[in-house]
Every structure is written in C-alpha cells, then in structure tokens.
C-alpha cells in the first residue's frame, strides 16, 4: 500500500489528480505524508456495482487511479478498461493481480528501523522492490527507503501496474 501511495505521490506533487477506488482502508494521512496533494485526491471507498463505470469515467481526467479490482472482474472488462486508460494517458495502479499489466511492482522484502526493545519509534523502512511485467523484459530489483527517499522515479506513462 505504501508503495502505491509513493507512486501516486510523484505525479500528485506536480499537480496531477489522484483517485483511490474501492480501498476503504487507505491511510490518507500516510498518503499526505508521502507527498500526495490531498486537495487533488478523491476517494471512492465503496463503488459497489459501478466499479468499472466509475473508473472509466475517472480515467477521462484523473491522472493516477489506484484501484483494488473486485474479485469478479473479468479479463474482458479489464482489457477494455486498460485500453481506455491507455488512450487517455492515465495510470492505473491496481492493488492485486491484473492480467496483462505493463509493470508489476512487488515488495520482496522489507525491514523497519527505529524500534528498540520497548523504546524508540518507527522511523523508516527499507524495502526491496522487484519490477517485472511486459514492459520490463529483464526483471530488476531496487532497494528503496520509505519515507525519506526521493529515488523513486516517476512511473512511465501510460502504464498499468500491479503492486
């Protein structure tokens, strides 16, 4: 989740709009902390049946859309939605498996720093992110720090990603 918010933060800090669809548990405070502009963020926690319609409508003008696809989303629906997102030049970040994703970001390992045995507090984490998928012929791994590291490159657009 943090990774998705961090990816959203890049475009959002430069004036892009973001939407989070179907993820009621997202920690908006963390999003703000990672650099997401909360004035340009909309949440649709319970899209219910209108999930695909809502995402398609948002893709018209919202730049980055974070979604958790419902279990019953069919490959056909997904392809149509992906085509629309691509045509509009938006980025769809899917939390969960997405057939035919351009890029797939996976956290292979993470470690928190700052906690002792009864003292200190959580300060930062280092995580290893694995990039694979159709657009990354040779999967590669990168170690990043969140929060507190700007090394996260803005995602190539248009792109579909799975976290």
């Amino acid at each position: 989740m943090s990774l998705a918010l961090a990816v959203l933060a890049g475009p959002s800090s430069s004036g892009a709009w973001g939407a989070i669809v179907g993820v009621p548990e997202v920690g908006v405070l963390a999003a703000g902390e990672l650099g997401v502009d909360l004035d340009r963020l909309v949440l649709i926690p319970w899209p219910s049946d209108a999930w695909a319609t809502a995402v398609a409508a948002l893709a018209d003008a919202i730049d980055v859309i974070v979604v958790r696809p419902p279990a019953q989303v069919t490959g056909n629906d997904a392809r149509r939605l992906a085509a629309r997102v691509r045509q509009r030049g938006a980025v769809l970040l899917s939390l969960g498996e997405w057939a035919g994703a351009d890029l797939r970001l996976t956290v292979t390992e993470q470690q928190w720093h700052g906690l002792g045995d009864g003292f200190g507090r959580l300060r930062a984490r280092s995580m290893t992110v694995r990039v694979s998928g159709r657009r990354a012929a040779i999967p590669r791994e990168e170690r990043i720090w969140l929060p507190g590291d700007d090394s996260l490159a803005p995602p190539p657009r248009p792109a579909l990603q799975v976290v």
Binding site: M1, S2, L5, G15, W17, A19, P24, E25, V26, G27, V28, L29, A30, A31, G32, E33, L38, R40, L41, V42, L43, I44, P45, W46, P47, D49, A50, T53, A54, A57, L58, A59, D60, A61, I62, Q110, W112, L115, G116, D117, G118, F119, G120, R121, L122, R123, A124, R125, L146, P147
Partner: protein, 545 residues
C-alpha cells in the same frame, strides 16, 4: 407608485380566433366558457352581445356570431410574444393575466420624455404586432387598468363606464383620458360603479347596501369593512380608495428563466439525452444572457415515464456556460439512466416478479437556482481554476452523479491523535472544513503514519516470552515485553521490536466520544503494526504496510 398598464382589447377573442383558421377578431366573435359569453369582439358588441349572456341569447342578438370555446393556455401562450415586445422597451413586466400587463411607469416615462409618450410608444409597439392595445397610467395597477379601458374608444359603444361628474380635481385639459395625474387616483376612481372591482358577489352585496360607486365604498371606515367583508373585502376597499395592493415587481421572477424540454418519445439512451441536453442548455443560457444574467448554480430535473421527478442541484465556481450546463445535464441524465439500469439488472437478477423495466425520461427541466448579473464572475487573470483541474472536477462530478451524494469523498486534515482522527472524509461537493481544528494535539501519533487504517479493528493476541498474555494496566504500565503477536487467530509472529504503550484518555467529559486506550507499535518480519489496548483487550488498528 405610478403603474403603466397595457391592456390588449378583447384578448380572449384574439387568442381564440388565432387558433381557428378563417376566423378573424374583426368578425362578430364570442368566446364562451360554461355556456356564458366571457368576451366578444367589437363587431359582436355592436350587435348587442354582452359579457355574461347565454350562448342562445347572444346568438339571438347576432345571428352571424362565431362562438369559440375558451382556451386559457392558448391565451397565455399567445401573450408571450406581446410581453417580449413590451419588455424590449420597458424592463420588469408583470403579467396580471393574459392580455393585461403592468410595468413601472417612472422609467419609461423618463426615457421617452413624458408619461403620455411612454404610454403611446408602448401601446404602439403592441399595435405593431397587429393587436389592439390601450395603455393607462395611474397610481396603482387597478386604477391604471380602469384608465386604459376608459381610454379605449369602443366602436360598439360600451355602457358608459366613464365618470359622469368627471374631473373634479381640475385635470389639465391636454392630458389624455387614459392618464390619471399623480395623486388624483382616488378622485378618478370614485365615480366608477362597484362592478369595476371584478368581485361580483361583493358588488352585488354592496349595491343592496346602497353603495354604488367606488368612492362611496372607499368612504367606509377600513376597520368596519374588514370586520364585515373579510380580508378580500378589505383589499377591495383599499383598491377602491386608490391604494395599491403591492408594487409592480421590479424584476421577473426567476422561475421564468426555467427551461423545459419535452422528450417525445421518452429517452432511454444517453446519446439521445445528450443531444436534447445541448439544445436545452443553449436555450437556457440565451434566455439568461438576454436578461444580462449568468447562473452559478442550476437545478436539473427530469421526469420519468412513470411520472417520477428526479432533481439535483449543480453548483459551480463561476458562471456556467452552455457547454458546462450541457455537460452537467448529460452527466446527470446519464447517472439517472445508468443507475436505473443497474437497479433494473439487479431487480431482474433477483427474479423480482413485481419489477418493472426502468422508465425513460420524458421531460428535462433547467431552472436557475442562483442567477446574478453578468460580470460578477470575471475569469481570473492570473491562475484561477486551471483547465486541467476543471476537467478533473468534471470527471469527478460525473462519478458523483453516478454514485450519489456520499459516494465520492475528499480528505481534509483535521485535528486528532489517532491515525483515523487526523483525516476527515467529506462528501464531494460539500464544504471542505474539518469539524476539529488542526491546531496542536499533544500526544498524537508520530510520523510516519500507517498506510492501512482498518475500518474495523481486528482482535489480536499478544504473548510474552513465557506464553502468558501481555497486559497494560490503568497507569499504562506494560506487564512484560511482548514476544509474539497473533492477529485474529493467524499463526503468531515473532516481535522484532516494540515501543509503547502510549496512553490516550480522550474526551472523558463526553460519554459518547470518551476513549481510553494505549497504543503500541510492533515490528515483525512481515511488517509493522499499530496495536491498541482497550478494555484490557488487544486490537490491530492499523498496519504500516
């Protein structure tokens, strides 16, 4: 308050004759309602046809009489271009009834250089449409109406309504008969018979009481009139005395700006609806522009085939243009249609026997909720809502209309200590003000914040190295260092690091929102968690996933 009244002579006849081919108002024509003559043309009047006569009586007097049924909606419809023509010269037209309208006399009199000229000019404008019209000016609409009627030289020779002892106040001889000088209205009204009040029952009663003229009626004490004749009688008394019931409206009511678009056949398809929406929006905006107004908020309503009215108000940061309104209508209608289809599929899927197919939309209506003079909304010279933001807002508006209010939320920073208190989610379209100020909140959770805040907390089991449950007492002292944590019955995980407990005792003065708990951060190999202890039980509140 000087009022200028324009009275279209025999308007029911003119309107009814225009509906029927080969009938002309110059022919002897009578308009009947409930078998009684309500209006007749001048030619019929010459033959002796009068208002209130039965059909057979009228036909006996004038064998060639053309009788037409009364159509009040046609009267109103046909009157619209007349009002438009008058309004082009004098703003603030108030329609008293079809065929009779009033404007404030002051403006036109100043503009055209005299009340008589204004009256002649406005009457001439209506005459140019081919409609016989007479203007009258007096203090108040009622007196002005009588003045207009009086100024009309009826070729049929009406029964003399004119005062017999005319002009007691020494009216200047050059003033036309249809203009009552300022302050002379009571004298002007006094000789008229009480029938002029257009209240037949009251007039009948007054006559039997020996009160035959408006002057005699006006001379009665107002309080006694009120006790004897009720509020309507008191109003009539004030009219007879030359006191106006209310001033002529300075501005047309905003409902006149509403645009109604009938859809026949009913519209089920979004593209068809969008086409109609465009037309309605153009009509709406041009009507506003003619009046020098812009609209910042509109009510869009639609009537379904089943007769159900759907309505939603759209607000905007600035003036709404044609494309803005068309877009909003399209989104709104699309939202309704898609919503109906979704509900329909759900109803059919559920095998609901009583379920009916969604109905099409038969009427689209646009009404300005807030209209203001153009120029109140200049576009910002530097910055302002950008094109990109505007597009994004439109897209979100569309989803908003699809999901309904509360479906789309926007976050604002609010005051609070926990990860869920510090953000407030506000429905899209509402004002973005948090209920709790974001001023310092000592004891708030330190950054970084958890990326996942569970909407419903999950129970957790925390054990120490010896396998006994860890407890936090009322003084926020932890019994032992936690060694393993199991969430909701999952296999336990080894604690790599922990900190806390951080006690929170919030709103103890308010029984509803009082909260007493302690927070503990725990790191395991799979991530970091925020646990709370409340009522001696452990919960998973959020994860730093």
């Amino acid at each position: 308050m000087r009022a200028l009244v324009l009275w279209c002579v025999d308007w029911p006849v003119v309107a009814a004759a225009s509906q029927v081919p080969d009938v002309d108002p110059t022919m002897p024509v009578a308009v009947l309602s409930a078998n009684r003559v309500v209006a007749c043309s001048a030619a019929a009047r010459v033959e002796g046809v009068r208002r209130g006569q039965r059909k057979r009586e009228a036909q006996a007097r004038c064998p060639g009489l053309v009788t037409l049924p009364r159509d009040q909606s046609a009267e109103a419809r046909a009157y619209e271009p007349v009002v438009a023509a008058i309004e082009a010269l004098a703003p603030g037209v108030e329609i008293v009834r079809p065929g009779l309208c009033a404007v404030r006399a002051n403006g036109p009199a100043r503009f055209f250089g005299g009340e008589d000229r204004a009256a002649a000019r406005l009457a001439g404008t209506v005459m140019a449409l081919g409609i016989e019209c007479q203007a009258g000016i007096a203090d108040g609409v009622f007196a002005a109406t009588l003045a207009a009627r009086q100024g009309y030289a009826d070729p049929g020779g009406r029964p003399p309504e004119a005062p017999r002892n005319a002009d007691p106040g020494g009216r200047p001889p050059e003033t036309p008969r249809n203009i009552v000088p300022a302050g002379k209205t009571p004298e002007f009204l006094a000789p008229f018979p009480v029938d002029a009040l257009d209240r037949p029952e009251l007039a009948d009663l007054l006559r039997r009481l020996g009160i035959r003229t408006l002057g005699a009626f006006a001379a009665l004490p107002a309080r006694d009139v009120l006790t004897r004749f009720g509020p309507d009688g008191a109003l009539a008394h004030r009219l007879a005395g030359g006191a106006e019931e209310r001033p002529v409206a300075a501005r047309r009511p905003p409902t006149d700006l509403a645009v109604r678009h009938e859809l026949d056949p009913p519209v089920n398809r979004i593209d068809t609806a969008a086409f109609h929406a465009k037309a309605a929006a153009e009509q709406f905006v041009s009507a506003l522009t003619e009046r020098g107004l812009v609209c910042s908020s509109i009510d869009i309503s639609a009537q379904t085939h089943a007769g159900e009215w759907l309505s939603r108000r759209w607000r905007h940061d600035g003036a709404l243009t044609v494309s803005d309104i068309a877009d909003r209508m399209r989104w709104q209608v699309e939202g309704w249609l898609v919503g109906a289809t979704l509900r329909g599929e759900a109803g059919e899927a559920a095998g609901d026997e009583g379920y009916e197919r969604p109905h099409g939309i038969t009427v689209l209506r646009l009404e300005p909720a807030e209209a203001m003079p153009a120029g109140a909304f200049p576009t910002a010279l530097w910055g302002g809502p950008g094109e990109h933001d505007e597009r994004a807002r439109r897209a979100v508006n569309r989803v908003h209309s699809l999901l309904g209010h509360g479906g789309v939320l926007v976050p604002v920073l609010a005051g609070g200590r926990g990860p869920d208190d510090q953000i407030e989610l506000i429905p899209w379209g509402d004002e973005r003000t948090p209920s709790r100020a974001a001023s310092p909140w000592p004891g708030r959770l330190p950054a970084p914040f958890p990326a996942v805040v569970l909407p419903r907390r999950r129970p957790a089991t925390v054990l120490d190295a010896t396998g006994t449950p860890v407890q936090v007492n009322g003084r926020a002292v932890i019994s032992a260092a936690p060694a393993t944590v199991a969430i909701n019955g999952d296999p336990p995980e080894v604690v790599l690091g922990w900190t806390g407990p951080w006690p929170v005792d919030e709103r103890w003065w308010d029984t509803r929102y009082a909260r007493r708990c302690a927070r503990v951060q725990i790191a395991t190999s799979s991530g970091a968690w925020l646990l709370t202890v409340e009522d001696s039980r452990w919960w998973l509140a959020a994860t730093y996933g």
